[in-house]
C-alpha cells in the first residue's frame, strides 16, 4: 500500500488499494499541480464534486482549474479550485431564449422541442457548512470568463471507471492555465450527433455572452450528497418550472 506520489506525465501507476473506496482512490489518483496555491481540503472538495459530476450526472470533459481564466486579465487568483465540464443535456436556458427557440420551431413548421446542444458550465464546489460572503462570490465571478474555454484546465484521471466518450484517462497537466500542452490527444473527440456550442469555431451562443455570467454552486453535505444551484452574476428573472 505505498502511497508514493504519482509521476507527472505518465498514465496512472498508483497501486489500487482495495480498502479505499472508489472516491478515495480517485482523490488519491489526482494530486494537485505543484504551482497551485490552494489548500489540500479545497482540492479534495473539488475532486469529490468532480467525481459526483462524472458518475452521478454523467458529465464529460471535466477539467479542474486552479488559475483564473485567461480572458480575465484583472483577476489575480482563483480563490478555490473550480471545475468546468459538459453536462449531458442543456442545463440552463433563459426564458427568453426558450421563447426564441419555440418561435423558430414554429417558423420552420416543426412541432415539439428541438435538440439543443449542451453548454459548458462552471462548477464552484463548496461545503454546506461553509459561510460565504458577497465578496467571495464577486471574486469567483471576476476570475471566471463567461464561457469556460475548452482548452484550459487540467483533466482528471480515473483509473477503474467505464470511460465515457471524450474523457480518456489522462492526468492533470502541470499548470491549470496551460494550453493543454503535453496531452497526446488532439482535443477531445466530439460526441456524436451534437454540436458543441464553443468548439469547432462555432460562434458562442448570444444568450451566453449577452446574459450575466453564471456558475453552478455545488454544495456538498455531510452525507456526501451534492446539490447544485445556479448562481447568476446579475439580475436574471427566474425560469418557469
Amino acid at each position: 500500500m505505498s502511497t508514493s506520489t504519482t509521476p507527472r506525465n505518465s498514465s496512472s501507476s498508483t497501486p489500487e488499494d482495495p480498502t479505499l473506496s472508489g472516491l478515495h482512490q480517485f482523490i488519491q489518483d489526482n494530486r494537485p499541480p505543484r504551482d497551485a496555491t490552494h489548500e489540500a481540503h479545497a482540492h479534495k472538495l473539488a475532486l469529490q464534486v468532480a467525481h459526483n459530476l462524472r458518475f452521478q450526472h454523467g458529465w464529460t470533459e471535466i477539467r479542474l482549474h486552479y488559475h483564473p481564466s485567461r480572458q480575465q486579465a484583472t483577476a489575480h487568483s482563483l480563490p478555490r479550485p473550480v471545475i468546468s465540464g459538459l453536462p449531458p443535456q442543456r442545463l440552463y436556458m433563459h426564458s427568453d431564449e426558450q421563447i426564441e427557440v419555440l418561435q423558430r420551431q414554429r417558423e420552420q413548421g416543426k412541432a415539439g422541442w428541438p435538440e439543443v446542444a449542451p453548454e459548458r458550465e462552471w462548477v464552484v464546489p463548496s461545503q454546506l457548512q461553509e459561510s460565504w460572503t458577497l465578496r467571495r462570490f464577486g471574486e469567483v465571478f471576476d476570475a471566471l470568463s463567461a464561457v469556460p474555454a475548452e482548452k484550459e484546465g487540467g483533466r482528471l484521471h480515473c483509473a477503474n471507471a467505464i470511460q465515457l466518450d471524450g474523457d480518456e484517462g489522462l492526468e492533470i497537466t502541470g499548470n491549470g492555465s496551460g494550453s493543454g500542452a503535453g496531452s497526446p490527444s488532439n482535443g477531445t473527440p466530439e460526441r456524436e450527433g451534437t454540436v458543441t456550442s464553443n468548439g469547432n469555431g462555432h460562434a458562442p451562443n448570444k444568450w451566453r455572452t449577452g446574459q450575466p455570467k453564471r456558475v453552478l454552486l455545488a454544495t456538498l453535505d455531510d452525507d456526501s450528497t451534492v446539490v447544485y444551484y445556479i448562481v447568476h452574476d446579475g439580475i436574471v428573472k427566474p425560469r418557469q418550472n
Binding site: 457548512q129 453552478l216 454544495t219 447568476h232 436574471v236 427566474p238
Partner: protein, 375 residues
C-alpha cells in the same frame, strides 16, 4: 355611542390625456409630506398614494380598516404605511419630505394656529355634523323597526289566513286598502299579501286595534317597546321624526374628522415658525439593494411572507407576480450557505428567484440570483 367617521369626499382628479408622461397629477403638489407618527411613515391622501404608485413605483402597505367590512384584514384602505426605505428614497429624490405629525398638530392647533373664535366655530361645526348623524341614525332605526313590524304583521296575517281558510271562515278578503300607506315606510310590503286585510288581523289577532292608522302604529310600537323596554318612552312616528329639528343631547354623535385641513390651512402659514427638519429615515443595511432594484424599475414590497426582506415585482403588483425574493447584505457580511440554499429552494418552489446583493463599493451595487439547477 358609535363613533362616526366623516370624511370629506372629493371628486376624482380629471383624467389627464398624457398617460405616458411622468408628471405628477395636478392634484398633488410636489414635494409631498410624509407623516411620521410614532416611527411609522404614513400617507393619508389618496391622490398622493396614487401619484407615488404611478410615477415613482412606490407601493407601500394599506393598513386602514375598511368601514364596509371591518372584520377582516385581507382588504384594507387608507392610510398607507411606507417602509423606512421607501420614505428615505422619496426624501433623497426630493419627491417628499417627512413631517413630525404630532409636533405639527400641536403647533397648528395649540401654539399659534387657531384663534379662540376659529376653534369655537370648528367645534360648533363638528357638533352640527354630530347632530345630523344622530338624526339620520334615529330615522334609520325607526324605519327598520317599521319594516320589522310590517313583516311580522304579514306573517301573522298569513298564518291567520291559513287558519281561517282551513276552518272555512267566510270572511271575505279584500285588498288591503285598509292599511294606510303612510304608516308603512315602504309600500312594497303589501304587494304580496295584498289580499290580506287588516280585518283578519283585527278579528283573529290578539292585539286588536280597531282604531285609526296612527294608533295602529303607535299602539303596536307601544306594546313592542313596552315588551322590549326600549329607550324612547314617547311613541313617535317616522313622519314626525323627519321634521324634528332639535335632537336630544344624548343623540349627538361624536365626530372624528379624518383630515385636519378644514381647521388647519392646506399649505403651511408663511409666518409660522418652521418645524425642525427631521433627519433622513434610518434604514437597515439592505437599503443599497433596495435603491438598486428601485432604480431598475422594480416595485418592491415587504417580503415577510417569504422570509426575505423584499419581494421585487417587474410591474404593478396588481398585474404581475413577483420575480425575486430579495435579501440585502453588507459586502463582507458572513452568511451561512444553508440560508442561500433555503432561499434558493423556496424561491424555486414558488416560481421566484432568490436575489442577494449589496454594495461592492460606494455607489456600486451588485446582485446575484440563485435558483435550483434541477440536478
Amino acid at each position: 355611542m358609535p363613533n362616526v367617521l366623516f370624511s370629506t369626499i372629493r371628486r376624482p382628479p380629471p383624467k389627464s390625456d398624457d398617460m405616458s408622461g411622468s408628471k405628477p397629477s395636478s392634484a398633488v403638489s410636489a414635494p409631498v409630506p410624509i407623516y411620521l407618527v410614532a416611527h411609522r411613515y404614513m400617507l393619508y391622501d389618496i391622490d398622493t398614494v396614487l401619484a407615488l404608485r404611478r410615477d415613482h413605483h412606490i407601493i407601500g402597505t394599506l393598513i386602514g380598516t375598511l368601514p364596509q367590512s371591518p372584520q377582516q384584514n385581507v382588504f384594507c384602505g387608507l392610510p398607507l404605511e411606507l417602509m423606512p426605505e421607501e420614505a428615505r428614497l422619496l426624501v433623497e429624490e426630493g419627491v417628499a419630505y417627512v413631517v413630525d405629525d404630532v409636533q405639527a398638530h400641536k403647533q397648528g392647533f395649540l401654539d399659534r394656529g387657531l384663534s379662540g373664535e376659529e376653534r369655537k366655530m370648528y367645534v360648533n361645526a363638528l357638533q352640527r355634523q354630530g347632530a345630523d348623524a344622530g338624526r339620520v341614525t334615529r330615522i334609520r332605526a325607526a324605519e327598520r323597526k317599521e319594516r320589522g313590524l310590517a313583516q311580522q304583521r304579514q306573517k301573522q296575517a298569513r298564518k291567520d289566513l291559513n287558519k281561517s281558510t282551513i276552518e272555512g271562515a267566510d270572511t271575505q278578503t279584500e285588498d288591503g286598502d285598509e292599511i294606510p300607506s303612510n304608516t308603512l315606510a315602504d309600500p312594497t310590503c303589501t304587494t304580496e299579501t295584498g289580499s290580506v286585510s287588516t280585518e283578519t288581523d283585527k278579528t283573529v289577532n290578539e292585539e286588536d286595534d280597531a282604531q285609526g292608522h296612527d294608533s295602529l302604529f303607535t299602539s303596536r310600537e307601544d306594546s313592542i317597546s313596552a315588551r322590549e323596554g326600549s329607550r324612547s318612552a314617547t311613541p313617535v312616528s317616522v313622519r314626525s321624526l323627519r321634521h324634528k329639528l332639535t335632537v336630544p343631547d344624548d343623540e349627538i354623535q361624536p365626530i372624528t374628522p379624518t383630515t385636519s385641513y378644514p381647521p388647519l390651512p392646506q399649505h403651511p402659514n408663511k409666518d409660522a415658525p418652521p418645524l425642525p427638519t427631521l433627519p433622513l429615515p434610518t434604514v437597515p443595511t439592505s437599503y443599497p439593494l433596495f435603491k438598486f432594484l428601485h432604480s431598475r424599475g422594480y416595485f418592491l414590497a415587504p417580503g415577510l411572507r417569504f422570509g426575505c426582506q423584499y419581494m421585487a415585482y417587474p410591474g404593478d403588483p396588481l398585474r404581475y407576480h413577483s420575480h425575486f425574493l430579495c435579501n440585502g447584505l453588507d459586502w463582507d457580511q458572513d452568511f451561512d450557505l444553508m440560508e442561500l440554499v433555503g432561499g434558493g429552494r423556496l424561491g424555486t418552489g414558488v416560481k421566484k428567484g432568490f436575489l442577494i446583493g449589496g454594495e461592492e463599493q460606494e455607489g456600486k451595487p451588485r446582485a446575484f440570483c440563485v435558483e435550483w439547477s434541477g440536478m
